[in-house]
Symmetry: C2
């Protein structure tokens, strides 16, 4: 199988769906201004890993790609919403994101706070309106998807993870807190992305559990890869400053484990993630590739 | 009918439901810190007008009060979430709310931004898990409720209304913008509160339209009453500073219409709201009282 081709086709599909689903704010100039900030953030690029994972998992369990597109875009919108909030002056105070000025640098703090919240609300709204074409699952999956999205984006996910991250500059972080930050800020939404795909396809509870375990492994691996990149990476390719964690006196996996042990941990998680989906054989090939892909950075 | 008794019974019911449904953040200290900020804001008091409206409308159309409680609390949580955001330094920069320090003054800006978003997410989450006891409506109403909640809280509601409000200090506001701010920041959630009650009770499209019109009237009336209070009210009773709009150079209905015309407009909206629900006769008595009640302030 030509994975490069698969990836570029799905990315194209996702970009088109994002283009169709992004709010425009035509109603008035205030919605329009929020939407300008939203569009800047969402269209700044990125690998679209989360939506592609949703699509890949839907396909794995025999669901229709068309049914995966709305929830897939919702994953990307929730992700982007959290980046807008994270970059705020009162949070990470980051000037750049994906090589472009951070949203608050272009549109101001007030607009970014409001647009960041609005983008997540819009992701939920989109899914609440979503009518899957196929009948397996159907409407009853909507409350479940929204319950998981709001929980993952909220108190028990991205938002409390971000608080822990912000506060980690102020106190000595132990391994438990470091893992909590990684679980909530990164692994949670990657896990939800594969779960959403499985839910859309009407996967069995066993299958749902399996992709959940897979998502947690690759989500944590993704965070470790990111932390390694912060130390060894090329600022230009990353589109953000190298050594930002160190500059912010923020503990990450590398500063905690050291570089060698971080790389070992990464390999071990990668192997574990692949063993979890081994049971699917050839059908699981795409997720197998995805595991490699999402941790493949320039190091 | 003893309306005072009705009101105090329903308020008691709402306070109990809020107590049961407010998140505690027992999982870890970061969720706990967000929840402390949330609880401070939600438990600071208020008349609980929105949840009582949801309950009253559910009863009007023969629904069960038990089924109204979760959506009713969700209305109050969305409302409180918007107040937390509005008071931020980059927005209204308000030090006090309901006679207590504003959330950001006690817990800081970062916590308040995160907790404010978390509280709305939690409102959606609560409703996504909600299983009405009665079968009229049932599960299919959940996506509809969430769609309306996210839209009202988001781009086409509270958030763009707040942006318009923040920016109204910087440019000359015309009547159209003033009405947009009032519609989005105030009338929209009051309208949703009555709509939610009707949806829960399985009301007909005609009835739903009628309470929507009623909600818009009393929502606008509420805003005008608030603006009158800003000029004539007693700071102590309000729990916030009198003349705050003037101090912020913010245009409101009184600065636009003058005091007399504002009072006229208020009376006319009140009369209109009552005429809309006249068709329900005795059954509509509670909403009739509610219209008087929500604009009854000390002026």
């Amino acid at each position: 199988m030509d994975f490069e081709k698969y990836l570029s086709e799905k990315k194209q599909l996702v970009e088109e769906a994002i283009g169709r689903h992004l709010p425009t704010g035509d109603e008035d100039r205030f919605s329009a201004e929020l939407c300008k900030a939203i569009r800047h953030s969402v269209l700044a690029g990125g690998k679209r890993i989360r939506p592609i994972l949703t699509i890949a998992t839907t396909e794995l369990f025999g669901g229709r790609v068309e049914d995966a597109l709305v929830p897939a875009c919702a994953m990307e919108f929730i992700h982007t919403s959290s980046l807008m909030i994270d970059d705020l002056p009162d949070m990470d105070n980051a000037d750049y994101r994906r090589g472009l000025l951070a949203t608050h640098k272009l549109y101001g703090t007030a607009v970014t706070i409001l647009a960041g919240a609005a983008l997540s609300f819009y992701a939920f709204e989109m899914v609440s309106r979503f009518q899957p074409v196929s009948k397996n699952g159907g409407n009853p999956i909507i409350p479940q998807l929204i319950e998981e999205m709001t929980r993952t984006a909220g108190l028990q996910g991205l938002l409390s993870g971000q608080l822990a991250d912000v506060q980690s500059k102020k106190f000595k972080v132990n391994l438990e807190t470091l893992k909590l930050i990684s679980a909530r800020k990164t692994a949670s939404l990657i896990t939800l992305s594969v779960r959403a795909g499985a839910i859309i396809a009407g996967a069995s509870p066993h299958d749902l559990q399996r992709v959940t375990d897979f998502g947690k492994c690759i989500g944590t691996a993704f965070q470790i890869a990111d932390d390694i990149l912060d130390v060894t990476g090329d600022s230009k390719k990353m589109g953000k400053k190298k050594g930002r964690d160190l500059a912010n006196r923020r503990v990450n996996f590398v500063s905690f484990y050291g570089l060698d042990k971080s790389k070992e941990e990464l390999s071990s998680l990668l192997a574990e993630s692949k063993s979890i989906i081994e049971v699917y054989g050839e059908r699981g090939r795409v997720l197998n590739y995805m595991a490699d892909y999402i941790i493949s950075r320039d190091f």
